[in-house]
């Protein structure tokens, strides 16, 4: 239904008509509230859905609506086509706002004269009212009374299961079932029939028979309603319960989150256009080739990311290369080399760990080492002590120290250096891909057809040549045109099969 390519935006789902959310997304109170408003509109005696009485064996019950009437009304109300309206009404039926009078187990909308009826507000699906097993047990007990012990298979299974785990409440269930049954009998027959149909429809929605899909299946329960207020507003409303420390932490966290999002927004290929084009959409892999780990000339966006944070620079191989070049010019490349060595130790194999640690010590930390790094005395002491029994994280304090040194000192200078400026100048900004030249991959159906044609051609060729050779051997002048016709028939028939 929601095709990322489709230009046509159905007014049923967009904000224009009524701002209803699609079924797959949420079940939030917001969407239900709007559905309920729509249902009220349908009840209008003048402009609502036409209703007719339902004639049964002995009684007549009013307020039955046909499937085609309700679809037509909805199509007219929202100015959409019949298929869209039908999809929408099928959602209403699946949720239980409208229930079918015939074939009550299948919650589908039939666009013909099949009858439906509106469900009473008590049985509407709303997030705040959980569906209780106690109620279901009472319902099953009532049904047991009416059907004199012959329940449907899945109902019987539910009944047994509930009897087992809800045993402590079972007396209540039986008592309440009997009383509810007696209370219902106080009403006149048409109302009694309607009540039973309503209750049955409610439980078909919430305890669907096996093999049917329930519209009530949704994802995880959220603690907060994302549609209610903005995120900051939501934090504020629970603030009064927090200590001042928690409050300030929450505030800082949210500020950091907002800052992160605003910084990275234009770099996210989902949220904004990525240049030249998203390869998954256009089948054009230029984006990937331009952003290879060790490409000569990086893209402008990539270079911009290096300025966001030092970690960003180091994590990008091309950025790290650039930084290394700069440090070489400054004659302080040993810091980066040491950092890389530490990373190698941390993430490397356990077998070579000892050698690596020794090598690093000899190269960077020992007195008079060729690439001696400048760390403070305390850290050096701790590191040297740790190296006696080296493990993966023995160089962590030293690494952190060097990292902070590079970040505070070299990083700033790097951004002002001619190396970086040169890189920025040279960085390319690829043109946006023009969809006209898009080469979509061949559809697998077409590929298969081509394959089959090929095969048929080869088979036909073989047939004809074999036959021809056989015939020539036999010396008969067989009617080649006939065989040719056969071959052509083969060719034409096979791809179609």
């Amino acid at each position: 239904m929601l095709n990322s390519f489709s230009v046509h935006k159905s007014p049923l789902w967009s904000g224009s008509a009524s701002g209803l959310l699609p079924l797959q997304d949420d079940f939030k109170a917001q969407s239900h509230f709007k559905l309920e408003k729509l249902l009220l509109e349908m009840q209008d005696p003048k402009t609502g859905v036409k209703s007719q009485p339902q004639r049964l064996v002995i009684t007549t019950i009013p307020h039955a609506i046909t499937g085609e009437d309700i679809i037509a009304w909805l199509a007219d109300r929202f100015q959409v086509d019949t298929q869209e309206a039908r999809n929408f009404v099928s959602m209403l039926v699946a949720l239980g706002y409208i229930y079918p009078l015939q074939d009550h187990r299948r919650l589908v909308i039939k666009p013909d004269a099949s009858l439906y009826r509106f469900q009473t507000p008590y049985f509407w699906p709303t997030q705040q009212w959980p569906v209780e097993d106690t109620d279901y047990a009472i319902y099953l007990a009532k049904r047991n009374i009416r059907k004199r012990g012959i329940l449907e298979l899945h109902e019987q299974e539910h009944y047994n299961r509930l009897h087992k785990w809800m045993n402590h409440k079972w007396d209540f269930v039986v008592m309440q079932a009997k009383e509810q049954y007696r209370a219902a009998k106080e009403r006149k027959k048409p109302d009694r029939v309607v009540f039973e149909c309503q209750e049955r429809a409610y439980w078909v929605v919430h305890r669907p028979p096996p093999g049917t899909v329930s519209a009530m299946d949704y994802g995880l329960d959220r603690l907060t309603d994302p549609n209610a207020d903005e995120v900051t507003g939501l934090l504020c409303c629970s603030f009064k319960h927090y200590t001042p420390l928690t409050r300030s932490l929450c505030f800082l966290c949210s500020r950091r989150l907002v800052k992160y999002c605003s910084t990275y927004k234009s770099h996210d290929p989902f949220l904004s256009n990525c240049l030249p084009s998203n390869p998954w959409l256009t089948d054009d892999a230029t984006y990937w080739s331009l952003n290879m780990p060790s490409v000569e000339i990086p893209t402008k966006m990539r270079v911009e990311r290096w300025t966001f944070s030092f970690a960003e620079l180091l994590s990008d191989p091309r950025g790290r290369d650039d930084f290394r070049l700069f440090l070489k010019k400054e004659f302080s490349g040993e810091n980066l080399a040491f950092w890389e060595g530490c990373e190698d130790l941390k993430w490397g194999e356990a077998a070579t760990m000892r050698e690596k640690a020794e090598h690093i010590y000899k190269t960077f930390l020992a007195r008079g080492a060729p690439r001696w790094i400048n760390i403070d005395g305390k850290t050096m002491e701790v590191t040297v002590k740790g190296l006696k029994h080296p493990h993966r994280y023995v160089l962590d304090p030293a690494q952190t120290h060097i990292y902070m040194l590079m970040k505070k000192d070299s990083y700033g200078r790097y951004q002002k250096s001619p190396v970086f400026k040169d890189t920025v100048k040279k960085a390319i900004c690829p043109e946006e891909h023009r969809y006209r030249h898009r080469r979509p991959s061949l559809s697998p159906i077409i590929l298969r057809q081509m394959e089959q044609e090929q095969r048929a051609k080869m088979a036909a060729n073989v047939d004809i040549t074999q036959v021809m050779s056989k015939l020539s051997k036999q010396g008969k002048e067989a009617p080649p045109p006939f065989l040719f016709l056969n071959g052509i028939l083969l060719l034409s028939i096979k791809p179609l099969s």
Binding site: L40, Q43, D44, P45, G48, L56, V57, I58, T59, I61, P62, H63, A64, L101, Q102, H104, R117, F118, Q119, T120, P121, Y122, F123, Q128, T134, A141, K142, N144, I145, R146, K147, R148, G149, I150, Y159, H168, K169, W170, D171, F172, V174, M175, K178, E179, Q180, Y181, R182, A183, A184, K185, R187, K188, P190, D191, R192, V193, V194, E196, C197, R200
Partner: protein, 252 residues
């Protein structure tokens, strides 16, 4: 004192039965809210049923807590009182939920606003007999003001908070583990009652499951028709026999 205790237990059971009955009727009334069965009278019925339920609840709670506090009762007695307590608290849970729902629906469906239509559920009859059953009277007399649909909601809000508070207190003060209670009724106990599961309910089944594919519904309907046909055929045969007999007598 055992006689007194037995009386206490019976009294308790009677009161619990009454509360159970009122809760069931209240639920039935709340289900009619917002539908075409809704009316001024229904709102008044809800109000009075609710108040009766609360009176019974308070009475039950007092009685049960006094029974449970008695340390001198036997183990069997204690088990029985705990069972009654579970019955009571389950009733209260149902009542609380229904009160909350009636508040929400009552707010969504004011009766006097012409643009707020009631949902056409097919139910059009009155619920006065259900309310009469709850109040244990023959006929209901309606005396409420015309603005009951909005005025009552304020009372309802207060009452809901009172009930919630009462239930919290109950949980705190009375130490009963509900899962430890063993029910006296077995599975299918509801079938063994002396209920009049007579023709009227059979008729209701056949009307409700009216699609021809459903075996039970169709079967029941066929059974109904078959029985009518059998009776008719019987009468026809008897008439024919009488006529033949008369002719035979005349001829001889």
């Amino acid at each position: 004192s055992s006689h007194v205790k037995a009386m206490g237990k019976d009294e308790c059971k009677t009161m619990l039965d009454a509360l159970n009955k009122v809760t069931a009727c209240y639920r039935h009334l709340v289900i009619a809210l917002g539908s075409t069965s809704d009316s001024q009278n229904l709102r008044e019925e809800l109000k009075r049923t609710r108040k009766k339920a609360q009176e019974l609840a308070v009475a039950n709670r007092t009685k049960l807590t006094s029974l449970l506090k008695d340390k001198s009762i036997s183990k069997d007695d204690r088990a029985e009182y705990e069972r009654l307590w579970v019955l009571f608290s389950s009733s209260m849970e149902l009542l609380e939920v229904d009160m909350k729902r009636s508040l929400e629906i009552g707010q969504d469906f004011p009766l006097k606003v012409p643009t707020r239509h009631l949902i056409q559920t097919g139910m059009t009859g009155s619920t006065t007999t259900v309310a009469a059953r709850a109040m244990s009277v023959q006929n209901m007399k309606y005396e409420a003001d015309s603005n009951i649909d909005t005025a009552d909601l304020r009372d309802l809000q207060c009452e809901i908070s009172q009930v919630s508070q009462m239930m919290e207190e109950m949980e705190m003060k009375v130490q009963v583990a509900p899962w430890a209670v063993e029910a006296k009724q077995e599975a299918g106990a509801e079938l063994k009652s002396n209920m009049s599961v007579g023709n009227s309910s059979v008729g209701v089944i056949s009307i409700c499951e009216e699609e021809p594919k459903e075996e039970d519904g169709g079967g029941n309907r066929d059974a109904g028709f078959a029985s009518i046909c059998a009776v008719l055929v019987f009468f026809v045969i008897v008439t024919v026999a009488v006529v033949l007999g008369y002719l035979v007598i005349n001829m001889s």
